[in-house]
Symmetry: C2
DNA sequence: CGGTAATCTAGAACAAGTTTCAGACTTGAT
DNA sequence: ATCAAGTCTGAAACTTGTTCTAGATTACCG
């Protein structure tokens, strides 16, 4: 029946999506080439520089195939972000933050991530814009990014069993993180400002953990 | 020299933009028609339904003229949002929030705004997506929206002389507000969830005000 | 091997945002 | 009233995301 297997869609991780039929090696390679080209183009030029025709050409794939793998430009860029986030998470695991309190560690972690983004501001632009511009059709993928981000923050807090209040705080931290990134990317906030925002929101953690009812 | 220019009639608010050459009455009328058409189309269909050709036709204006007034679709939608925000602010002034603490009043105000958006979810979609998708070329306009939002929140807090810490909290509240809206609009968070996020972030205000010097 | 269904390719075609242009129209000044 | 300069209009053109099609390839089953 099938030839080169079924329609691909998300991650390469086996322990992730439920309905992701496995990919041929050649397909996996194509997918990887596409994501690489996407990140490459995004790296200089940002969101606008990632043009589907160029991605296709650059990754040696027909336009139609590109769209079979990633049903829209936003899907593509969100997938690119998933990729980068995984990479970041691995890096962070190797060198956990050293702060005293949970709030400090989270702030340190986010600032580290922020510095990584500063090294590739155009790539950051492409990914973050895609993420916030995504409509309902990309919800699953965006949600996956969100879960990954949550995991990173919880890791930094060093909690195995967060309370609902703490999870609420994490949600707000994520909101702030995304929105602060946007203001920075669009030139409306300085790097210093972003740091302040992050540090401010991280104080919410103190509010829930040490003294409060847990 | 100029033609339909120079009549210093009304931009309504005299204390707003610095370098906005005043508009003729006919121009003011055009501008208003355009914004009305924009809101109308956004009202059903959201971001995608606001098509520049339709806006032009619907507001009895040539496409080129539309682009003279609003240099891009995002500019147009952000301007639409400015419009709506002013309206909201006026409404809110009439019925200030009744909560005991500043945090309660801010949360109440934002929830009220949220309910207003729920009545026109498509319009909300168009405006918020435009806002977060805006690139640097729209910074001034987006900044104006941000200032207006800040003003609304500060009003709710009832402060005439906010401390830097309080301003920081307000910034984070705004971040959360925008990002929470996005998650709601893209179907990744429920209304209840948004309420929780808002209430959570508003606790930051308690952190700055009651104990410290006011 | 041969068959066949799914995949891939190349390229045209379509949609909506944006730009451009020639000509008609308005406005304020002389 | 006339004129110069800025505005508006209508329409075509251009760009880039997205869809579609016909035919060549590929993977797997028997």
């Amino acid at each position: 029946m099938p030839a080169e297997a079924k329609v691909p869609s998300s991650t390469a991780r086996p322990a992730a999506q439920p309905a992701t039929p496995p990919l041929t090696e050649r397909q996996e390679a194509r997918r990887r080439r596409i994501l690489h080209a996407s990140a490459q183009l995004a790296g200089r030029g940002g969101f606008d520089a990632v043009q589907m025709r160029e991605v296709a050409e650059s990754s040696q794939v027909a336009l139609g195939t590109l769209y079979r793998y990633f049903p829209s430009k936003v899907h593509l860029l969100v997938a690119t972000m998933q990729d980068q986030l995984e990479h970041l998470h691995r890096t962070l695991r190797k060198k956990p933050p050293a702060g005293e309190t949970a709030a400090e560690r989270v702030a340190e972690t986010l600032m580290r991530a922020f510095r990584a983004l500063q090294r590739e501001p155009h790539l950051a632009d492409a990914m973050v814009r895609a993420l916030t511009f995504a409509d309902r059709s990309v919800s699953p993928e965006v949600d996956q990014v969100s879960r990954q981000t949550t995991a990173i923050i919880l890791d930094a807090m060093g909690l195995e069993d967060p309370t609902p209040e703490q999870l609420a705080a994490v949600r707000v931290i994520e909101h702030t993180w995304h929105s602060a990134l946007i203001t920075w990317l669009s030139g409306r906030a300085s790097i210093a400002q972003v740091r302040i925002d992050i540090e401010t929101v991280c104080r919410l953690i103190d509010l829930t953990d040490p003294a409060g009812r847990a």
